[in-house]
């Protein structure tokens, strides 16, 4: 089906529940406030933040970002497959998303363990307070994401379920977790 035909056929409808979008936008504002405080603190004590930041391994951050972007790709593909009625491939993509998420979690915990072991803990200095706080609260969102993926899989499995709106809603949440990480990664790992 061509792009244009798809849009015309579906009309322009909100992807998923508008309620989830309200949540996404609100939560983004809250995170933006967190980021604002971080950047403000950072700008006030650049040396401290720079030296602490040098303890981070940028490559691990890049790997994590790529993995999470892949998970967004797979869940987006899942939504499109579900919409076309191809629930088999959709289900496979949902599991793939979960797999990417597990990889992300594993790498994250490995990174945290390594940093703590080197003596950079939650209360070591301001930078690491922000680091563990932001990655920690993101981690919580990711864990909630697993519940959301569970709902998604449950929808795709049962022939009586398969509410496309709910599938899109779950995907919307997942993408939020992804783009929040994109911002966190840029601010914690790359910003100088």
């Amino acid at each position: 089906m061509s792009d244009l035909a798809e849009t015309t056929k579906r009309g322009r409808s909100v992807p998923g529940q508008p309620d989830m979008w309200a949540f996404v936008l609100f939560e983004t504002l809250v995170f933006t406030a967190y980021f604002g405080f971080y950047l403000f603190s950072r700008a006030r004590s650049p040396e401290l933040f720079l030296h602490a930041q040098a303890q981070l391994d940028l490559r691990i951050g890049v790997v994590n970002t790529l993995v999470l972007l892949l998970s967004s790709w797979s869940v987006a593909r899942c939504v499109q497959s579900a919409r076309a009625g191809a629930y088999g491939p959709a289900l496979r993509d949902a599991f793939l998303t979960a797999l990417f998420a597990v990889v992300f979690l594993g790498v994250k915990m490995f990174e945290w363990a390594r940093l703590s072991h080197e003596g950079n803990g939650f209360d070591s200095n301001d930078f690491f307070t922000y680091y563990f706080f932001l990655t920690g609260i993101h981690f919580v969102h990711l864990l909630i994401g697993f519940v959301v993926l569970g709902v998604l899989v449950y929808q795709l499995r049962g022939p009586k379920m398969r509410d496309q709106k709910l599938v899109e809603t779950c995907a919307t949440y997942w993408h939020t977790v992804d783009f929040l990480w994109v911002l966190i990664f840029a601010l914690l790992y790359v910003v100088r």
Binding site: M1, L29, F35, H51, S72, D178, R192
Partner: protein, 93 residues
Amino acid sequence: MKFNKRLLVVWVILASLTLAYLWIDHTANGSLRSRALITSSVIVIALVKVRIIFREFMEVRQAPVLLCRLTDAWVVLIGAVLLSCYFIGVAIR
């Protein structure tokens, strides 16, 4: 399916922007200096990625115009807040 290819292309673009950070890091390295230019461009690149995620992955491109406007406004808002917090912090150092 045409859609799948589009999604893959989108991912490749996002991945390239992510890898671009490695290049930025490489050029900035050696000197542990904080530079407003690097910070600003890193933030802007991140926001570009966020907008791409909104429009392509989250299907805002095919959503009602209100949602398109709203998400664009959000990207601008985030940018404004982040950059102003940073530069205000620099100013009152």
